[in-house]
Amino acid sequence: MLTFLALASVVLLGIVPEQSQAIVIYTGWERHALIGSDIRLSCSFFSWRWTSEDVTFSWTYRPDGSRDSISIFHYTGGVAYVDNKGPFRDRLEFVGNPGRRDGSILLKNLDFNDNGTFTCDAKNPPDIVGRPSSVRLLVFEKVPIQAGVITGAIIGVVLGLLVLIVVIYYLMRFLVARRVFSLSVSKHGKKKKEGSQQRQIKV
């Protein structure tokens, strides 16, 4: 039993350091935006190590239908370098906080040509092994309503009204019944008093 536990712990200790070296990067899956608006693309990471001073963030952009990626943002050595000659020049701003593992960027004044996939890659030396994460940007003229929102709203409102009507009906019945009950009790009480008074007079 003890040897089994010792073997298991040795195996686990052997496996865990391998996994703990991988950095895990989180971005959204898909973002919808209206034409002409701004959007913040968030990127953060999880790493077993403390946030190093040499932490780097880089964003690349691949337009829809194209196979080439272009690098649009890089943060390294405490300085953020934004796109100054590509499709996002003067429209990109760094709004992240590298100290808090946040490498988010802000895209301003979106256009239909900005539809595409944005990939964020973060490195936290010595934790550098990880998969970059991608978020897809969809720019709409009019933000479409998600499937089922109006359906659920209509069904909810109608059923809610039904429940409300039933509750009000039973409440009215209960109140009216209580009022009738209290009236009949007071009448009954008066009759009793009159009856006892008559008996006293007779005596």
Binding site: A147, V149, I150, I154, I155
Partner: protein, 157 residues
Amino acid sequence: MLLLLLGIILLHVAALVLLFVSTIVSVWTSSETSTSDLWINCTSANGGYHCDPASTGEWIQAVQALMILSIIFSCLSLLLFFIQLFTLQKGGRFFLTGTFQILASLFVMSGAIIYTVMSPDWVPEVSAFGYSYILAWVAFPLALISGLIYVILRKRE
């Protein structure tokens, strides 16, 4: 007496089944190569069958909601019928049952009308109305008649 009861229940259940089929089967419009609405659009291209979720416009969602509400109200009406069958006094009328069934028929009617009027917005000209749409229109008078029978019917021993 028992025959009357069975007939009424059969009518109600028939309307309910039609409502279910009309809502669940997604064939409100059909053309030679595709069927669509209310929930998925399926096209048979290149020998295979490819289905996408239906368009998420406001009007389709309204039709979906009205069809689901009509099913809910029709089921509630059936339940209420059985409850009232045992709790109503002699000579009483099945008002509540009839109200719910008539409401269900009104919901189907509104759903079918909204679909008829608004579907040209997202349906191509070559498509015709499919059988789910027709079943919805058939379910409407059945449910209405069933509801009216409940309102007129008096409970006998």
